[in-house]
Assembly symmetry: D2
Homo-oligomer: 137 residues x 4
C-alpha cells in the first residue's frame, strides 16, 4: 500500500506533468479510482476545421484516466484507450472530464471517462491500465 | 470530386491547424488515403512519469488520420479512434506517424496509423471516419 | 417514423435470428434505445480453456446492441464494437446483457452493454451504429 | 519455455474448444505468433438481417487471436478486443481469418486479425492479451 493519499499522488503527478499544465488542466475532485478535471479550450488548440483538435479532448480524458488509475497507490500504465467525439468543441468552451472505475482487478483496471461541455457530452473515452508492482512514494 | 489535390487539401488544413503547428508537425508524404507526418518531442510534452503524455502521440496519429482521410476530397469526420502505447517516448525523440487506408467505403472509411521512433513502434492507432457529402474547395 | 413498436421490431428480428436462437437468447426488456437479454451458457459454448468462448459473451452483447439500436425504427448497422472480458464465464452460468444508449445522433448512435452473471460484471462492450434512411416495416 | 510446439498447443486447444468445433473452424496455418483459420458460414449462423451474425465473424477472429497468442507457449488471456464489420457475410461464404502479431512484449502482446471472403475483407479485428507466467504442457 502506498503511504500517499490520492490527492498527494495527483499533486506529484501534476507537478511534473508539463503537458497537462500547458492544457490548463485543473483537478476538481480526486478519490480512489475516480477523478474530475476541468480546462478551457484556447485558440491554439484548434485543428483545420477550426474546432478543438481531437488530441485536446483525448489528452484531457487521458489525464483524468491516468490520475484516477494511479490514485490507489500502485503505478498504473495505459494498455489501451479509445475515444469517440460526439460533438464539436470550440475555443472558449469549458470542458469537464470525469473518470469512473469500471473494474479494479489485480493486474488490470478499466475506466470510462465522459467529457462534457455544460449539459452536453462531447466525448466518450475508455481506458485500460496494467497495474505494476511498484508504488507511489 | 474535389478540384483540390491531396497536397492542396492538407496545406489548407495545416494552415489553420494551430495545435498541429504547436506540436511541430511536418508533412512528409501525402497521397490519396495515406499520409506520413513527423515531429520531435519536447520537454513541454511530458506527463507525470516524465515520458511523452499519451495525448502527444495520439495527437500526431490523429492528425495523420485526419489528413489521410480528407485527402480524397470529401470532408471526413472522426467517428471512433483508439490507441495502444507500446513503448515510452522521451523528450528529443523524433516520431514518424504513417497512416494507411484499410477500407474506403461509401460513407465509412478506416485507417491504421503506426507511430515509430527509429526502428521501434511506439504506438498503434486505429480510426474510423464518416464521409460527408461536402467537398474541400 | 416506423409504424412498429420496439417490441414488434425485436420480435421480427428475433424470428429470423437463427444464431441468437441457437444461443438461447430471451428478450427480457425492450424500450426505445435500451434492451435486456438473458441466456444460459452451455457445454457446447466453451473454448480451449474450458470457459465460455469470448465469442459467446460478445454475441449476446452484440444482439442486445442490435436490438437496442434498431428499436427506434430506423435500420441501424454496426460500425465498430469492442469487448473486454472481465471475469471467466462457465457452463451453467446465467448471463444478463443490458444495452444502454450513450448517444442518439442523426446518423450515428452509441451504446454500452454490460454483461453480468449474478452480481458480477463479466464483460464490458461498446458499440457504434450507422443509422440508415430505411425503416422497419 | 513450453516443451510443446505451436501445432501441439493449438491441437490441445482445439480438442477442448467445443464452440470452435460447432463453428466448423479448420486450422490452416500456425506458427509462433501467427495463425490462419477457415470456416464456412451456415444458415444457423444468421441474424435478423439474414446475414451472418456479428458474433460469428468475431468468434472466428477471436479463435485465430487466441491460437496465435498462445502459440508461443505461455498462457495468454484476452484483455481487450474490437471488431469492425466491413462487408456483410452470407450463408455459404467461406471465411479465412489471419492473425498477425503486432507486438510481443513481456506481459502484453497485440494482434491484428483480418477476415476475408475471397478477395474481400469482411472484418478487421484487433486484440490485446496478458501473458501469464504459466506454460502450455
Amino acid at each position: 500500500m502506498s503511504t500517499l493519499s490520492p490527492e498527494e499522488i495527483v499533486q506529484k503527478m501534476m507537478a511534473k506533468d508539463a503537458f497537462s499544465q500547458w492544457l490548463g488542466v485543473k483537478v476538481c475532485q480526486i478519490e480512489p479510482g475516480t477523478c474530475t478535471l476541468r480546462m478551457t479550450v484556447r485558440e491554439d488548440m484548434i485543428n483545420g476545421f477550426l474546432v478543438a483538435h481531437g488530441g485536446i479532448t483525448f489528452s484531457l480524458a487521458d489525464s483524468a484516466f491516468a490520475f484516477a488509475s494511479n490514485s490507489r497507490g500502485q503505478h498504473a500504465v495505459s494498455i489501451e484507450t479509445s475515444i469517440s467525439h460526439t460533438r464539436p468543441v470550440f475555443p472558449g468552451d469549458e470542458l469537464e472530464a470525469k473518470a469512473v472505475e469500471l473494474q479494479n482487478g489485480k493486474t488490470i483496471a478499466r475506466y470510462a471517462v465522459s467529457v462534457r461541455c455544460g449539459e452536453n457530452t462531447v466525448a466518450l473515452f475508455n481506458g485500460t491500465v496494467f497495474k505494476k508492482d511498484s508504488l507511489w512514494t
